[in-house]
């Protein structure tokens, strides 16, 4: 492949949605959906092209404006960036379709039902997300995180209802505090190393220096707020449940993944000299408490969307169990000969949790949105007898639930399998009860809904359902199927993840992988 071509390609996933967003602002509202969907399709296409490029030519990087680091800003595209880019496109396209159909089905100038700003904001958000995944510069990440926060909050308050506005302001302030902590950390890092490029920083950061330790703590805390990790999750349930369903799906499935992604990258690429066993354990403990607390809260909610939002808090906790498992006790690491085998498992498991939660949670929010649309209220009881009335949506909900619980065969199963395995082989067995208990609680709230869905028609409220456009049901189902499929085709995803992975693959695949992966 021509290197010049590949270089210009790698900025496309940022430029395309950005151009689409600007176009949408210029277009009259009724044409925005078409332009937005076209942009979504093109973005997916560019992400696929980049994926193919990654598999054929390996990691690519591009210096913006031709300036190399440390002066210029670099874009870098490796396996990790690739899977998150693909996740965003594969979730974003069906959610966009869903949104377009939903807003078209509610004509009229009611701002709450048919927001004209959805498409420009969502495409801006998409550009910011893709930028975060490809960016390789600490300060650039700050700017993109801020743009993401602005666009995300604007989407969350689309309905204009007072509850949403209030939740939106709290969300925004929390995000700003997170950004400021992050920025302060960035300033300290620059002071210590004189560089902002992630690749250069990894080598240049003086390990163990006090300012680097402080910077690390500040950046980590800022990102924990943005990712809504217990106990910094206070803003999430309100904000995610007050938004329109497709927006909730985007916020829960994608936006918090971006800050998780930055967290992950900085942890393994930049601060690998500063992270300690204790730091890993602390982050893991927060994650473990989040798993139990979030799932427990979800079980207690009486309103559908709040239940799903609380479930996000729990599921995010699982992703953070990755960190104690990849952060070794230096003494133990020195005693062991060769790299421990479980690092790769933990790495894949944590990322797989992020990916499968993306699909499953998007499907679940869309499904719940359809229930609410059809019945007209947000009470759990409103799903009574849904299996007879909206079977496809109930099925989508069930598939998403299966993945969240971690039942096979689903993405969530692969994630929990890998995490649990790493837990046992690293002898950090104390995480295992948390993983299992979280699954159990998750099963509790998922099956509580399914139980109601199977209840007889006699117990359902006598109201007629409002008609639901088929496309809404199809998109929810597609995402639910996606959550199952990535559990069946895990080897392909892992093939991508391997490109530039920090931990070597511990186990040889039993059969020959399709296609040649060379990095």
């Amino acid at each position: 492949m021509n290197p010049a071509l590949s270089d210009s390609l790698s900025a496309l996933p940022i430029l395309l949605p950005l151009a689409g967003a600007l176009t949408c602002i210029l277009l009259p509202p009724r044409h925005r959906a078409a332009a937005g969907l076209l942009t979504s399709a093109l973005t997916l296409l560019s992400a696929s092209a980049l994926t193919w490029m990654l598999l054929t030519t390996g990691i690519s990087s591009q210096n913006l404006g031709g300036w190399p680091p440390p002066l210029g800003i670099q874009l870098r595209f490796d396996g990790l960036a690739c899977v998150f880019l693909l996740l965003t496109s594969l979730v974003g396209l069906p959610v966009g379709l869903h949104a377009a159909a939903l807003f078209r089905s509610q004509p009229g100038d009611d701002r709450a039902s048919s927001p004209p700003l959805f498409w420009p904001l969502w495409l801006f958000l998409w550009a910011a997300l893709n930028g975060i995944f490809i960016s390789h510069d600490l300060f650039n990440l700050y700017v993109l995180l801020e743009i993401m926060g602005l666009a995300a909050v604007s989407l969350a308050i689309l309905s204009g209802r007072p509850a949403a506005l209030l939740a939106g302001l709290r969300y925004f302030l929390a995000a700003l505090v997170g950004s400021m902590l992050y920025l302060l950390g960035v300033a300290l890092v620059y002071g210590a190393a004189g560089s902002l490029d992630l690749g250069l920083l990894g080598e240049a950061l003086p390990a163990g220096a006090i300012s680097v330790r402080v910077a690390f703590a500040l950046i980590i805390t800022g990102l924990l707020i943005k990712t809504a990790v217990f106990p910094l999750h206070f803003w999430l349930p309100e904000a995610h449940s007050a938004a329109p369903a497709p927006v909730s799906a985007i916020l829960s499935a994608l936006v918090i993944k971006a800050s998780f992604y930055v967290f992950l990258r900085l942890w393994v690429d930049v601060f690998d000299g500063s992270v300690t066993f204790a730091a890993g354990q602390a982050v893991g403990a927060l994650g473990a408490v989040a798993v139990v607390w979030g799932s427990y809260q979800a079980l207690r909610q009486s309103r559908l969307k709040r239940m799903v939002a609380h479930s996000t808090v729990g599921q995010v906790g699982y992703m953070f169990l990755l960190f104690p498992l990849i952060t070794l006790d230096p003494a133990a690491a020195a005693a062991a000969h060769g790299p421990p085998t479980w690092l790769g498992h933990a790495w894949t498991g944590g990322i797989y949790q992020a990916l499968s939660h993306g699909f499953a949670k998007a499907a679940m929010f869309l499904a719940v949105g359809i229930f609410i649309l059809a019945v007209g209220n947000d009470e759990k009881r409103s799903v009574t007898n849904m299996v007879g009335r909206l079977p496809m949506t109930t099925f989508a909900f069930a598939l998403a639930g299966i993945s969240l619980i971690g039942l096979p065969p689903s993405g969530g199963f692969v994630a929990k399998w890998m995490l649990l395995k790493a837990t046992f082989s690293s002898q950090q067995w104390w995480w295992a009860p948390m993983i299992v208990w979280g699954s159990f609680l998750t099963a509790g709230y998922v099956f509580m809904i399914l139980r109601l869905a199977f209840a007889p028609a006699a117990e359902a409220p006598k109201k007629n359902l409002r008609p639901v456009p088929r496309i809404l049901e199809f998109t929810a189902l597609a995402l639910g199927v996606g959550a199952i499929l990535i559990g069946l085709r895990a080897s392909e995803v892992m093939l991508l993840l391997d490109v530039g992975a920090p931990f070597a693959e511990p186990v040889q695949p039993l059969t020959e992988p399709p296609g040649g992966a060379d990095d």
Binding site: L420, F440, A490, S491
Partner: protein, 505 residues
């Protein structure tokens, strides 16, 4: 590995495919659904016939698919897998016919038959699974596919039962999950039959292995309804009769019993299990379950509940045979796996006919039913006598081998247990037979709407008669080369080291 490995996923898919298509049918499309159902069921039996013939010629089939890292989807055929798939596919065919007749005109049939097919897909998958992961995947899949069947009626009682069922099975599944992952971290991917993997572990890991064994038994014991994990089974009998029949005879409970077999003989291996000393406690649990189930069955007036407790008791014969750890006892367990299925499905078919035709659920209302439903009650009688262990019905063979197994191992208490339990079986089955055949009917029986020619709808009656006949034939032709016993002997040969000490003494 031979070229025909694709046959195995095809066997699994032969019920999965129709199942998925059926979901999308409207309830009124009876003809299409029936054709699809029967096509899938017949295809499955035919495919297994082909595989069976190939197996006796010495072919071995295998299918592998890597999910990622060391997660591997692996199907393969061995004698035990063959035994279980043959059982489930034949009984599925019969039950499908029965279910079509049973649910005629009721609501949500497409959903029912969709999940019904998925349920059989899962139990076939469990049978063909070549490693622990694949087994676990289908084991959980079975939980999910059976839940909608248990709550199918949608009544409050059904939903409650469904909840109980889910808590038990999800809990068991989670525990099993921990066990499977734990085993992976010890020895990597365990294929069934690779008993040397665990056996070769250093001796200081033995306590850990003992704990691991019990964790996995706790996970499997839920579905196998070992006391105290049996609570879901009597609750789940609120499901429609064909579901109970399948649940109790093949699908769920047998998945548990089958899993215990695989665990003891194909993962740990009999020698390691003996060394760890885990078998005697397991035998005690099984013995307790046998007596407990029988005693509880005595107290039930609801026919299906009595049958359900009888299942709890009868199932543990399998666990007992496994846990005794001798060749003849293992033969008894294997034979009982099949024989109990055939007999119990007959009993549930009959209970369903009685409930469907006359709305009778309680045993005390069954006086004189034999005059109105002679054929049904004849089938019921065969099943009941078989459960008691009367020759020449199939149940006798299993008890005979279990008893021999006890003697072979010099454990005469097994004989006492068998006699006691047979006595209890007789005490809870014979009064029913007495009522049905020798008491005067309490009321006039109305003619039934389903059929003029038969005592009830033919689609309900024939399956019951066929399985009753089958339980007699299985008992009569035990010694023929193609019988269950022959397969069981072959399986046991592979489990026990050559020149088993039991046979010599």
């Amino acid at each position: 590995m031979t070229d025909h490995g694709w046959l195995l996923p095809l066997i699994v898919a032969s019920s999965l495919g129709p199942g998925i298509v059926i979901f999308f049918l409207r309830d009124e499309q009876v003809a299409v659904r029936t054709v699809l159902n029967l096509l899938g069921a017949v295809l499955k039996v035919a495919l297994i016939g082909i595989v069976l013939a190939g197996f006796f010629r010495g072919d071995s089939l295998e299918f592998r698919y890597t999910i990622g890292l060391d997660l591997e989807f692996h199907l393969r055929i061995d004698a035990l897998a063959l035994l279980f798939t043959a059982l489930s596919s034949v009984l599925w065919l019969v039950t499908t016919v029965y279910a079509i007749g049973y649910l005629k005109g009721s609501a949500n049939r497409s959903r029912f038959f969709g999940f019904f097919s998925l349920c059989v897909t899962a139990s076939t998958g469990i049978a063909l699974a070549g490693n622990l992961v694949t087994f676990f995947i289908f084991y959980e899949f079975l939980t999910l596919a059976t839940y909608p069947l248990v709550v199918h009626r949608g009544t409050r009682k059904a939903l409650e039962a469904g909840r109980t069922y889910l808590w038990y099975t999800i809990g068991g599944g989670t525990v099993l999950f921990v066990g499977v992952v734990w085993m992976f971290t010890l020895v990597g991917s365990v294929e069934f039959g690779q008993i040397h993997l665990l056996g070769d572990l250093p001796a200081d890991l033995r306590p850990q292995l003992t704990l691991l064994f019990w964790v996995m038994i706790a996970g499997l014991g839920v579905k196998a309804a070992l006391v105290p994990l049996h609570g879901w089974l009597p609750a789940a009998m609120v499901a429609p009769a064909p579901v109970s029949a399948l649940l109790h005879a093949v699908a769920v409970v047998k998945a548990g019993a089958f899993g215990i077999m695989r665990l003891v003989y194909d993962v740990f291996g009999i020698e390691l299990a003996r060394d760890l000393g885990v078998l005697p406690p397991l035998a005690v649990i099984a013995a307790v379950t046998i007596l407990f189930g029988s005693l509880r069955a005595l107290a039930q007036n609801d026919l299906k509940r009595r049958l359900a407790y009888s299942t709890v008791s009868q199932l543990s014969y399998i666990a007992l045979g496994i846990a005794l750890g001798g060749t003849l006892a293992a033969v008894g367990a294997l034979v009982h796996l099949v024989h109990q299925g055939v007999m119990k499905i007959t009993l549930f078919f009959c209970a369903g006919i009685i409930a469907e035709t006359f709305k009778i659920h309680r045993i005390s209302d069954m006086d004189g039913l034999g005059r109105r439903l002679p054929l049904t009650m004849a089938a019921f009688t065969v099943g009941a006598l078989g459960m008691i262990g009367l020759p020449p019905i199939a149940g006798f063979i299993s008890k005979w081998y279990l008893g021999l197994g006890g003697l072979e191992l010099d454990q005469p208490w097994v004989l006492v247990l068998l006699l006691l339990s047979s006595l209890l079986n007789a005490v809870y089955f014979l009064p029913i037979l007495n009522r049905v055949w020798f008491r005067a009917p309490a009321r006039e029986w109305k003619r039934h709407r389903h059929s003029r020619r038969w005592e009830t709808s033919g689609m309900l009656l024939w399956p019951a008669l066929i399985t009753a006949l089958l339980s007699v034939l299985l008992g009569l032709f035990t010694t023929s080369g193609w019988s269950v016993l022959a397969l069981a002997l072959e399986i046991v040969e592979s489990w026990f080291p050559p020149a088993p000490p039991g046979l010599a003494t």
